[in-house]
Amino acid sequence: MPVHVPDGFFDASTSVATGLIAAGAVGFSLQRANREIRETGPALAGLTAAFVFAVQMVNFPVGAGTSGHLLGGALAAALVGPWTAVLVMSTVLLVQGLLFADGGLTALGTNITLMGVVTVLVGYFLTRALLQVLPRRMGSVVPAATAGALLSVPVAALAFTGLYAIGGAVDIPLGKLATAMVGWHVLVGIGEAVITAAVLSAVVANRPDLVYAARHLQRDLVLVDADGNTSTVAPDKPIAAKPAGRTLGVGVAVSLLVAGGLSLFASAHPDGLEFVGAKLGFESAAEDSAVAGSPLADYGVSGIGNAEVSGALAGIIGVLVTIVVGLAVAKLASVRANRAS
C-alpha cells in the first residue's frame, strides 16, 4: 500500500466502515490536537503535511528492481505528536485525492485508516513505549521512532489484508496475500525506518525541541542576563511524563486490538469466515503456503480448531513477535549508540 486504494477495490460496506473509522479518528484527533494547534498554529501542521507529501514522492530502492517510498506516518507522529499526525496524514491523502486524483474518493476512508491512522498510532505508541525502557536522553528517540516506523508499515499491510478478507471482491488465498503483503512491506518498512532515523537524527542535532515524542527529555535552559548573571530556566511546557509502563501497556494494547480485532472482524464476515476457515485454516494450508516453514505462514495457527480464534490469534502473535523484535533492535541500536559516544 505505498499506493492508494482506488474506488471499488473494497465492497461498499467495507468502504463505509473504514469511512466511519477514519471520520471518528479525525474527529477525535481534532479534539486532542486542538490545544497544540492553537499554540503552534495550523501553519506548522500544514507545512508538515507539505513535507510528507513532497517526501512521499522520493523513491528508494526496495529490491528486485522495484522501489518504495516513505509513508511518513510514524515519522510525523514522533515529530508533531500522534493527534496532529493523524490530521497531517489525512490532509495529505485528501489533497492527493481531490487535487491530484490519486486515491479514490470512496476509498478515502480506507486510505486514511490504513496510512493515516494505523501507521501513526502503531508508530507512536511503540516509540513512546520504547522511550520508557531506553536511557532517558534526547538521542533515544532516534532508535525508538525507527523501530516504530519499521513496525508501522507491515502492520498497515496486515490491516490491508484484513480489510481484503472482509471486503475484497474476489476470494484469493488470504495466507498468500498476507505473506506477500507483510513480506514485501517489511522491506518497505526498512526504507521507512532508515529515512525516519535520518530525519530524526537531523532534527535532534539541530532543533531537539521540535521532537514531540521526546519533549519530556529536554534539558533546562541557561540564561545570561544584561549584567552577565546566569540563571537556569525550565524549557517551555514540558509534557508531563506518563507513569512508566502505562504507555507501553497502551501501545501493546492498541497494536493487539488493531491486529486481533481486524482478524476477528475478518472471520466474522461470512466471506471472510469461509475464507479464513475453510480455505486456509484447514483444507489447503499446506499446499497454499509459499513459506511453509513458518507457523504463521498462512495467517491461521495450525492445530487450533476454530477459524475465528485461529485468525485473530495469528494476528496477535504476529504483532507480539514484531514488538519483541522491534524492542530488541532498539535496544541493540541504543547500546551501539552509547558505545559510539
Partner: protein, 252 residues
C-alpha cells in the same frame, strides 16, 4: 509539484460551477459506480459515456486525462493477477486456466477504479486550489482541517522546490549513487528538508500573529450555489444514480 494540482486553465461550464457542487457531484457519481455489481456490464458502459461527456464539457485535453490514469497502475497489476491467484471454478481462456471469479474481480477493480480516477480528474482539472478549499469549507469540513489543508497547498510548491534544489546541490557535488549510498543521501536530505519546513511553519505562524491572528482563519467562501447550478452540476451524477438503481431493480 505545483500547488495548482491538475488544474487546466480553460473556461468551461464545469470550471464555472461552484466547487462544493462539484465535490458533491463527484462523490454521488463514484458512490453510484462503486455500488453497481461488476457483472452489470452495460451499466459501466453508460457510466463511461457519461464521464466522456463530462470530460468533453469541461474541455479537458484527452491526453492529460489518459496520462493521469497511470496513478492506477499498481492496482492494474494487482487486478491482472487476480484471475491467476483467485480460488473457485476455472474457465479456459486462450489456453490459460483462469479463475472465473478472478476474471470478474479483475474487471470489477479495473472498471470501478478507472471510472473513479476519471471522475476525480474532472474535479481536480476544473477546480483551482482556492475554490476547492472554499468548497470544502462550505461543506462544513472542520475549520482546523481547512486551515491545515490551505497551508499545505500553499507551501507544496515551496517545499518541493526546496527538495529539488537540495537534490541538484547533492548531484552537482558529484554524488554518484549506488543503492546504500542512494538511500543514505536521500535520507540525509530529507532530514534537512524537515527542519527547513518546520522552521518555515514556525515563521509563518509568527507572521500570522504579527498581523493579529488569534486562532481563527478568515472565511474564504462567500457565494452559495443557485438551484440551477446544483441541477447542472449534479445532472451526470443523478443519471448515474438512476442507472445504479435500474441495475438493482431490473437485474443485470
Amino acid at each position: 509539484m505545483s500547488g495548482d494540482g491538475l488544474l487546466v486553465t480553460v473556461d468551461s461550464r464545469v470550471h464555472r460551477l461552484p466547487a462544493h457542487v462539484k465535490i458533491v457531484a463527484l462523490f454521488v457519481l463514484v458512490l453510484a459506480v462503486v455500488s453497481t455489481p461488476a457483472a452489470a456490464f452495460w451499466a459501466f458502459g453508460l457510466y463511461a459515456v457519461m464521464l466522456v461527456a463530462a470530460v468533453v464539457t469541461a474541455r479537458l485535453p484527452v491526453l492529460l486525462v489518459a496520462r493521469r490514469l497511470t496513478v492506477e497502475t499498481p492496482f492494474i497489476v494487482f487486478a491482472l493477477l487476480l484471475p491467476f491467484v483467485a480460488t473457485g471454478p476455472r474457465v479456459d481462456v486462450l489456453g490459460l486456466e483462469l479463475s472465473q471469479s478472478g476474471v470478474l474481480g479483475a474487471w470489477n477493480v479495473l472498471a470501478k477504479g478507472t471510472l473513479g480516477v476519471v471522475a476525480a480528474i474532472v474535479l481536480s482539472a476544473t477546480t483551482g486550489p482556492r475554490d476547492l478549499l472554499a468548497g470544502l469549507e462550505r461543506l462544513r469540513l472542520p475549520a482546523t482541517l481547512v486551515a491545515i489543508l490551505s497551508f499545505m497547498i500553499r507551501y507544496l510548491s515551496v517545499v518541493s522546490d526546496d527538495l529539488h534544489r537540495m537534490r541538484i546541490a547533492r548531484e552537482s557535488r558529484g554524488y554518484a549513487g549506488g543503492r546504500a549510498g542512494h538511500l543514505k543521501a536521500v535520507a540525509g536530505g530529507v532530514g534537512a528538508l524537515f527542519v527547513r519546513s518546520f522552521e518555515r511553519g514556525e515563521r509563518v505562524h509568527l507572521a500570522m500573529r504579527s498581523r493579529g491572528y488569534t486562532g481563527r482563519m478568515p472565511l474564504l467562501s462567500t457565494r452559495g450555489a443557485t438551484s440551477s447550478q446544483w441541477l447542472e452540476g449534479l445532472a451526470i451524477s443523478l443519471a448515474a444514480v438512476a442507472v445504479a438503481l435500474a441495475v438493482r431493480v431490473v437485474g443485470l
